[in-house]
């Protein structure tokens, strides 16, 4: 959803949106789409989806061993200047495949179109797809499959074609 080439403009927009009292804002422009809603239960037009829980999730796991927050696999500083970073929209568990045993949505080198699914973020069995905001090639996958990611954490680096 966010490319690192316009974070200031986006942050400004978010601030304005939060202050304005506007309930919904939907912008679509060539390879860019942004949907803001102040209502958490609002159905997002494209970005959200729900799928069946993967079998790997055990329902009543006692709190014992914390999952470390995923450390980036590749240092962000080593990425090309024109790389577009795809960040996690919120905290959750990062899944690279639609279900256990299935092929990953993307691998390094995959060509993606704007709007293509890249991964799932799971919160309490609710799975939300993260989509590419631009077309390009997957340059790096920055998080291990199954790791917990924080809100705003970098997940993928894409290079525009």
């Amino acid at each position: 959803m966010t490319g690192h080439d316009f974070p200031d403009a986006l942050k400004q927009l978010l601030d304005e949106f939060s202050r304005s009292g506007i309930r919904e804002l939907h912008i679509r422009k060539s390879d860019f789409e942004l949907y803001l809603s102040s209502d958490a239960s609002a159905a997002r037009p494209r970005a959200a989806m729900t799928v069946v829980a993967p079998v790997s999730a055990s329902p009543t796991q006692p709190a014992a061993t914390p999952k470390p927050i995923a450390a980036p696999i590749a240092p962000i500083s080593s990425l090309p200047d024109d790389a577009v970073i795809i960040n996690a929209p919120n905290l959750g568990t990062f899944y690279r495949a639609p279900k256990p045993g299935a092929a990953n949505y993307v691998e390094v080198g995959s060509k993606v179109q704007a709007g293509d699914e890249l991964c799932l973020i799971e919160v309490m069995k609710l799975f939300t797809a993260v989509r590419a905001g631009t077309s390009g090639t997957v340059h790096a996958v920055l998080v291990e499959d199954g790791a917990m990611v924080e809100g705003g954490q970098p997940l993928f680096a894409l290079v525009r074609d």
């Binding site: 709190a63 014992a64 914390p66 999952k67 919120n90 905290l91 919160v123 705003g152």
Partner: protein
């Protein structure tokens, strides 16, 4: 089983307060933050902080699934909800229970029951707690006079379908009750299509008093004295005191007994507060509601009892028994708290987020500051405007007021306007000093003059 790692599902000063309490008990802490609070004081003090999501509370602090997911994945076995946000939403303890996390608060069913005003009122009545005297439906003007005579004037005639003050009339005697019946009923028909009325005693000058409770969930409930929170603006408390100096001892005992009886009747677990309206003229108190959480103003009760309520909350959630008995709870001196909000009182209390450039709080015996602020700290625009709570403890009420005046005079804040100057004006007012205030005093007496001086 004692909690080993506590998840703090809140922000601001209360998140910092909870982290401090957990550390005193040698419990690890994980603080949930939104993107706007990454660098908060609580996040820095905790063993670990986790970014839930964007600044908007609906996508971070108000999402129970996100919070319990984060608590579980970070290996926490306890969760403290603080106040506000999800603290009184039963879904949070329900999700915690499903995932083996101890919730620092009451049972979800108790939260649900107390959150429903009518159910809470029925529970209070069943426990023998005084309720505002009132009537069933009144069908005629003659009925209204009879009920008014029975309840005692002044009375409020209210539309049972009502709201927003429409179909509401105050009557000071039997004639006004009869006339008021016709007026209120006609208004109610016009506004709601239903002229059914009921009556309730009207208390023109009430104080807000509340009792701090702590239960073990097995039927034992202790009280930690009462608080007087009568300085309010639009039902928001600004100043809280403990004890309620305007209440005689025999009523105070009844108040405590009522509150404890109500909480014990539902085997209340953890911290809660029973709120009452105190009619000073009649020397009677009536039940309002129970808040099923720790409250903003808990430090004044801690000051006069010397007891750490948040630590006790965490211990009880970990399965411990109450660490003291009622006779160990001794009240000493008088405490006053003022809520410091980043608001401009001269501009109708406009919230004023921004960066604090100077923050030099007062220090000294009997002074406590609960705040997450410091010089250079940012007050984000997304949440409430409270930046801290200044609490003083003195030998009696006059001593506490004098200490508070000194403390405010020595408190330097720059960068954003705060309510500190208003607090200074309140505590210098003869009505406050002589303790003649009520819940509408600030709006009716002080603020009109205060506005003139500011303009």
């Amino acid at each position: 089983m004692p909690i080993k790692r506590l998840f703090v599902a809140n922000r601001g000063e209360i998140a910092l307060r909870i982290v401090g309490a957990a550390q005193a008990l040698n419990i690890e802490t994980v603080v949930a933050v939104s993107d706007a609070d990454r660098d908060s004081a609580a996040a820095r003090l905790a063993d670990r902080s986790i970014v839930l999501g964007p600044a908007a509370a609906a996508k971070s602090y108000l999402d129970p699934r996100l919070i319990v997911h984060a608590a579980k994945e970070s290996g926490c076995d306890g969760l403290h909800p603080g106040y506000g946000f999800l603290s009184e939403r039963a879904i949070l303890p329900r999700l915690c229970a499903q995932h083996g996390i101890a919730f620092v608060g009451p049972e979800p069913d108790v939260i649900d029951a107390l959150g429903d005003k009518l159910r809470a009122r029925a529970m209070a009545g069943a426990a023998g707690v005084p309720l505002v005297p009132g009537s069933e439906c009144v069908a005629s003007a003659a009925d209204a006079r009879r009920e008014g005579d029975r309840i005692g004037y002044p009375v409020l005639l209210k539309a049972s379908a009502g709201g927003g003050g429409r179909g509401m009339v105050i009557a000071n005697n039997g004639d006004e009750a009869e006339a008021g019946f016709h007026k209120a009923s006609a208004e109610a028909v016009a506004a709601f299509g239903d002229g059914t009325l009921f009556m309730e005693r009207f208390v023109p000058e009430a104080r807000h008093v509340e009792v701090q409770l702590m239960g073990d969930g097995k039927g034992q409930v202790l009280h930690f004295g009462e608080r007087d929170c009568s300085v309010q603006r639009r039902y928001q408390k600004l100043i809280e005191e403990a004890p309620c100096a305007a209440m005689p001892d025999h009523l105070r005992r009844q108040l405590h007994e009522s509150a404890v009886a109500l909480a014990a009747s539902v085997n209340y677990r953890n911290a809660g507060t029973a709120e009452f309206l105190f009619d000073v003229q009649r020397q009677e108190f009536y039940f309002i509601e129970v808040n099923a959480r720790i409250q903003v103003e808990h430090p004044v009760s801690e000051a006069i009892t010397g007891f750490d309520l948040v630590q006790e909350q965490i211990r009880i959630a970990g399965g411990a028994d109450l660490s003291v008995s009622q006779q160990d709870v001794k009240i000493s001196g008088h405490a006053i708290e003022c809520r410091i909000n980043a608001e401009d009182a001269a501009r109708d209390f406009l919230p004023s987020p921004g960066r604090i450039t100077r923050w030099e709080p007062p220090q000294g015996p009997g002074i406590r500051l609960d705040s997450h602020m410091s010089a250079g700290a940012m007050i984000p625009p997304f949440y409430d405007s409270m930046v801290g709570k200044l609490i003083v403890h003195g030998s009696d009420r006059a001593d506490a007021i004098a200490r508070l005046a000194d403390a405010i005079d020595n408190f330097v804040v720059e960068g954003v306007p705060t309510t500190l100057p208003l607090h200074r004006a309140i505590i210098a007012h003869p009505d406050f000093i002589e303790n003649r205030i009520h819940t509408r005093w600030l709006e009716q007496v002080l603020l009109p003059d205060y506005g003139k001086k500011a303009a």
